[in-house]
Amino acid sequence: MNEGIQRLLGEGPKAINLGLEEFAQALEAQGAKVVHVDWSPPPPEAEELQDLLEKLL
């Protein structure tokens, strides 16, 4: 039932990092797999379409 959690606890974190890049560097320093996202705020149109997507996808 909580397979996703068990996988996390069993395998240890394999992370996607959004935000402070230091968090990704710290994970890397600990030998964890991590991919840092070069994130930027979504353009206003993405927000505007969000609601539409909920109906269509």
């Binding site: 959690i5 069993g10 992370a15 996607i16 705020p41």
Partner: protein, 512 residues
Amino acid sequence: MFRAVQIQKRRYFDSMFLMRVTQHLQAEPGVKEAAVVMGTPANVQILLNLGFPAADLAEVGPDDLVIAVAAEDEVAAGKALAKVEEFLSGRREGAIQAPKTLAQALARLPEANIAVISLPGHHAGREAHKALDAGLNVFLFSSNVPLEEETALKKKAREKGLLLMGPDCGTAIIAGIGLGFANVVRRGPIGLIAASGTGAQEFTSLIHRAGAGISHAIGTGSRDFSDKVGGLTALAALEALETDPATEVLVLLGKPPGENTLQRLAERLRHAQKPVIACFLGVISEAIKKKWPGKLVSLIDDAVAAALSTLGLPVPEFLRPENLEELAERERQKLTPRQRFVRGIFSGGTFCYQAQLFFHTARVPFKSNAPLLPEHELPNPFQSEGHTLLDMGDEFFTQGRLHPMIDPTLRRERILKEAEDPEVSVLLLDFVLGYNASPDPVGNLLPAIRAAQEKKRKNGEHLVVVASVCGTEADPQDYKKQVEKLEEAGVLVFSTQAQAVRFVLTLLGGGR
């Protein structure tokens, strides 16, 4: 302009690959024009158009590699030519373009099992939704995510069998790997579920220093125990750690839960499959203590001791309250009659909170910018009054700045300011080590501490500096080295924060 042409017979490379090599060569210092091409008639024509001498190109065939460089002088051309082999080896390039979205990152790391999110609150919630939809657990460091969104996220996580740690989750350790602010601790049989980040850091560090270890430390986010959220993450974590083979004993740590949540947790713990120790940092009524189905304590040190005892492990010396009166009396002698106030300047919210609890229990009046009870409210956070216990990580101070665990500026300024006050006798400090904290938390504040001591000395006063260091010798900053630095400066360092506060109260004459 110096032009050089090299022809390498019957050496083939793909044309597009050579375009990239050409690009590198063009970027070399002093190079005006460069071409690394196969010697086809079309390419030879290009080289002629670029002004390379026809004589140099007369013998070229389509299976030959041609390296042509026009540079400002012979030396530059020679240096550039010498690099061609390196470019041809292709090893120079290795960078993968950083993904721009969660989905792109997931394509890069399909086996990912968690998203670590520290974006501004408004965006953080949406990305957390996306992460859950993609089957990822979430460590949500961001604060100011609206309550309704927190509840929605946690319900979604429950439906999907995933863990949502946060929002406002500072610390977690999963299978030995720290997320956010976390210390390097040994793995072991103790599982932690914590609503408080620094609380989790202090607990896990003390467990490590006691020789035991942590299976997982799961953060729930600061509001999880409130009735509005209802302990959704705590309950999910409880279930996970109960089935987790690495965990033998569980500790639940945080401020006292809301009434309904307390009830829910109590009911759930009645059928707990492993021993659970609850540590609620706060005033707990006798009624609750009676009803609670298991060990219930209200100090981090006691939780550590209880976990160790449950596992049949000895409780180390440093966790036992020592008789501090002798040391306190020695320090008391050095103070002037006017010096009577304590100023606690904390980077860890839980440390400020735990200090207030001690003061409150000892009936010593105090003020705080993050007050335990409304009556403790400090009207102006920049101006201390009487005994003052400051949470420098509070939003009031961190607006537009890094957390004081990373950026020491505000704490440094505050230490100097408090030293000006002739009524101040004691500075009570915390230092938090571990990943993502400052690389040298003690070093950051030492100059300010020394300056404060000096200031007091000049005024014919004495300054008692009391500190605790949260961390382990395995941390990048090394617990032992940090403590040594403090002790060299005459700072009284206690092995736990609770001990440090206890000493301060002893000094104040309560002896409690």
